[in-house]
Symmetry: D2
Subunit: 386 residues, 4 copies
Amino acid sequence: MTFYSANRIPYGMVGGGRNALIGSVHRLAANLDGNFELVAGALSSEPERAKASAADLGLSPDRAYATYEDMAKAESARPDGIRAVVICTPNHVHAGPAKAFLEAGIHVICDKPLTATLEDAEELNEAVKASGKVFVLTHNYTGYPMVREARSRVRSGELGEIRVVHVEYPQDWLAKPLENTDHKQADWRTDPARSGPGGCVADIGTHAFHLARFVSGLRVARLAAELSSFVPGRVLDDNVQVMLKFENGASGMLWASQVAPGHENGLRLRIYGERSGLEWTQADPNYLWVSELGQPRKLITRGGHGSGSESARYIRVPAGHPEGYLEAFATIYTEAAAAVRASDSGEPAPRELLQPGIDDGLEGMRFIYACLESSKRNSAWVGLER
Amino acid sequence: MTFYSANRIPYGMVGGGRNALIGSVHRLAANLDGNFELVAGALSSEPERAKASAADLGLSPDRAYATYEDMAKAESARPDGIRAVVICTPNHVHAGPAKAFLEAGIHVICDKPLTATLEDAEELNEAVKASGKVFVLTHNYTGYPMVREARSRVRSGELGEIRVVHVEYPQDWLAKPLENTDHKQADWRTDPARSGPGGCVADIGTHAFHLARFVSGLRVARLAAELSSFVPGRVLDDNVQVMLKFENGASGMLWASQVAPGHENGLRLRIYGERSGLEWTQADPNYLWVSELGQPRKLITRGGHGSGSESARYIRVPAGHPEGYLEAFATIYTEAAAAVRASDSGEPAPRELLQPGIDDGLEGMRFIYACLESSKRNSAWVGLER
Amino acid sequence: MTFYSANRIPYGMVGGGRNALIGSVHRLAANLDGNFELVAGALSSEPERAKASAADLGLSPDRAYATYEDMAKAESARPDGIRAVVICTPNHVHAGPAKAFLEAGIHVICDKPLTATLEDAEELNEAVKASGKVFVLTHNYTGYPMVREARSRVRSGELGEIRVVHVEYPQDWLAKPLENTDHKQADWRTDPARSGPGGCVADIGTHAFHLARFVSGLRVARLAAELSSFVPGRVLDDNVQVMLKFENGASGMLWASQVAPGHENGLRLRIYGERSGLEWTQADPNYLWVSELGQPRKLITRGGHGSGSESARYIRVPAGHPEGYLEAFATIYTEAAAAVRASDSGEPAPRELLQPGIDDGLEGMRFIYACLESSKRNSAWVGLER
Amino acid sequence: MTFYSANRIPYGMVGGGRNALIGSVHRLAANLDGNFELVAGALSSEPERAKASAADLGLSPDRAYATYEDMAKAESARPDGIRAVVICTPNHVHAGPAKAFLEAGIHVICDKPLTATLEDAEELNEAVKASGKVFVLTHNYTGYPMVREARSRVRSGELGEIRVVHVEYPQDWLAKPLENTDHKQADWRTDPARSGPGGCVADIGTHAFHLARFVSGLRVARLAAELSSFVPGRVLDDNVQVMLKFENGASGMLWASQVAPGHENGLRLRIYGERSGLEWTQADPNYLWVSELGQPRKLITRGGHGSGSESARYIRVPAGHPEGYLEAFATIYTEAAAAVRASDSGEPAPRELLQPGIDDGLEGMRFIYACLESSKRNSAWVGLER
């Protein structure tokens, strides 16, 4: 991959105004490799805040829009208009903007989960397919080099048939009823009107699910879930435990929690095959434990000895110099840029691109709904529709 | 606790002859604190091997018995006869000897799981209750000082109401069909005739279950399990995943596996309460992670700063000098010795003793059977009878 | 700190052409927060390579210079000329360009160590002081948030008087005579003509030295060193061990090595005071161990509970999402940008800026020379001139 | 090795009475494998305390001696007298008892350092040589299986020529003037009259020194040391830093400290050769990191895959079940038992025994004195006499 480009793709942003945590992360990630330049925004649903946020970011006042509809319309009409838009609003404001920009011929990079509801997701899926435009879903954890190293090892057959998959994503930030204080993040993420019917399962459960899918390459055939809301008064789930059965017969467990004291973003994946096992932890992302049966465990470092050629292409700095979350996120953006450039040139997307897209988003929504259904049905096994 | 005694309790052993792995461990554990002295044995069902094993251990030839029945009879008749017996045979040879010795007025220390079948367990339970003798089940992991530190912290209320419990015990030694080679351990542990209907779930699942129970103090109300036999040709389960629901409403997950490459004895417990979380790992037993909400994580060391007075009584060497598996196992023996001495003096057992007993054994068997039933019933929730 | 700016400072680069590892790192770091834009370069001493490298990076052909002298002259004459230059050439080509650009009124950001020789360093020091321009030395490790957290804790007095300081920087990449192969990095770094009289001590010993100084705030009064060249045929040192005596009476040890198998960039700092100790490791930079006497050890995470307000300003993404080497490096650049902007506005530099400068560079050169002298004098203590 | 024996060697103990920490450790270690039985003692220099301590331990009253001289005389005259004595008194009471028992024909197991002064050490050395009796010095850390694994790997040549050795032993228990409180351990260990002229360097510096010697097999040719007494009013050193030069040309550093907050018993050894490196840490003794150049790092576990046949003989429980400090200590005792049995049978000691002896003790004393001399001579290099 080329990590520094002189040819920045102009892009706009929906959401991500002042004090919006994830908006800043998207901008840093988009900027890191020099592939994107922010030139327009509908940064807030509150007009004054939208304008002020745009000024903070040095946007030209005429490209600081009050609504995403305005932005889609105006930008598609400009000769120097944005070629891509980043959507980092609450879940219920994903589908609307995404469809608007796709229809305006603008590529879309969208935060996860795909939408608030499965209905929205299915409609958006059709819109994406119809548009022919690039659609990227920022399951950013898949951008970590050692995640890709793990994926590459699984695909090489080195593990043999996979038997067991464990993935977990515990956090503790919602262990108290933070939504009752003036905490914007907690507020919308615990509100079904804005998040959709899934709480923890949608917010971070989908990350865990997608990571397991991405690395193992296996599809989940069915699942049995139990969702809980431990904090009194909370409507959405804040702890979810799931048993998984994969199509190849492997068993698995998924745990996501927002009420597990001591965990910040404790995403962790373990995969066990006939011949070898792998373990990766997001908080220490430059390491991959490889456990071949009958051998001592090996600690592979990002770009270090034993780190393969497939992961090498996602590495910016030498082994022993850690890369982090932003770099992983930036890799998704850099792959998005490659996809956008290919699309705009009328060429097929490079085969090596791995950024998540609409299919992953739709599958994530089906995962959420299957968990909800199973939990309602007393944790009965529920199939995961293809 | 007194870790060195000049007053050794004479004991005998059933099983544990030449090349029997766990017999040697029991002897070292029994010996460590000086509370027990081995003086008799029915060390093998093969008479020649029994005799040779007894000679190895320096037993008097007249106390090297061909059968446990002989031993129970002869020792109970001797004025200097054994006061306790250790049973470390395969599961299906627990109940018989245990009942024989109890009936002969001899205290019993028995390896886990309690028996091969629930029927045997229930009968043994009655025999223990009827005998008035001490019965200790060697769920040895509960003897680790930091496990007791964890238990003490839960009981103090420091965690608040418990919400989530995770326990796992992965191993990899049966990832290949070892039972098809000349491997004695693998042979009987994968054979329903000797192990009973549970494989992995009985052998190590019960350890995990008991550890969660011991530390959390919570009872499991119901569970939903999926047992698998991944190795071709294996009859008993070698991977078990369970969702737990505790009586107080807490959710939990239990995973035990014998086919997870990279794991030797990866027993690990994590408990999350309203206010704090705990994490303990058997392979690094001298540490306890304590995660109070809103505070940095603390690493408590065995006997170090922050390690409490309740765990202090189980500590033999100063902080920073690790204790291991044998010391934990020895603590169970030292508690057994205290119980035996109290019983033989007609006094009540000291209140601070925590060694597992018949109730834990019976509960463990019910856990096995509930897992088997749930798994057969497509992972339906199954109640855990009290 | 503001991590995203719409106002990019135009800069040029000396060195850093095709295949130059560190040049790419500087560009990514300069770009990450959006404060700098590369517009000119004298990217290689080989004209063809310089031109091709400039094209790779999208530089305008008229700003792709054959020599740094040309660049300094031409850029200072342009109304849109560069305001800063980044020098990332081998050590012996630091002083010349730095002086040329300072004289041309252009701010300088220079890789470490300051120069190849102490004489050059002293001249450059005078040139910087005379110019009134910003001079930044990229001791990038000081940009890690948890390094700043550590520094802040020391300054707060929380440790009490410091007694012991340990710093080490082991690597293994030169454990074999790589300079005899076609390895550009190894070639110049082991060549006294380009590196100066110090090998390992200059390349990474100065990083370790500066980190200890930066965090502890203590000055080294004297040192006793032993330099070795373990690889046969190597002229410069590849292992250096040093005993330090600080002005406050603290003792210390510094170890740097390029021949220590298993270490990639094993920079680690430990500081022990009367009341508390700190430990930080570059490979796991988001953690800081804090060991208060009489308390359990605490693991502070970047931005997590217990992480202070002073380090908070250097943090881009939430706790539990790791930041890495590029982010730390970028912080030095972002501080450089703030210093450049202040200077160009005729304002004093913001007081909170901590980026290393000419004084650190000069002190580093004195450290190198003191180590060389001590080693030649049989490890006698040598004072470190102020 | 045989870890359980029915043939216990009767032994006595000098020191180790009530509340004497290390006495209890010696008894547990001696007892663990069943090779020794405590039958006599001169457990305290205070007669009442000696008597009470003997009663605690169940000694026959006639074998509870008031002085070690009485014990040596009486026991050597008994047909069932002790065959070995354990000396665990303060340093200045090592040489006297040791000589008395050797002269009485009784084997000696002695705590470290060998004596309080070099003069005593040299006299004792002659006494041991003259006696022909077994003399064991309890540098117990060398009993850890993974220390022996490390030693075996060095000897196999797998590392190639050794270049760098780092060993450290930090503690924090004397960071405050504990000797001014009523703390018995702190009292004598900081008192030159009882400890000898070395404080930290003697108490734990010798452990670090011996460990480096034991594993590397290299002799130290010379050293340069700086000893400090950081705690006001303390006479003996509480922090010692040493540069080492080995006879083969390897460089090394040794650090021992009693004032390093956060460290309990932080003994750690790292050895770097031409082809591979090793790292071992006492607090996590069941692991050995092996870093072969050009390979990912491997984590060898005690008895696990990659753990060699030479270390296997020191292992009591299966891989994944940790062993600790007592087991390592017990291994020294079990080797002592083998040496005692061989000596008493008139046979040569088994060649595979590795327990430290009088030569190690004498070398340790020379190390202490060389450090003292170097420190007085402004850290000049001082040769280490053979």
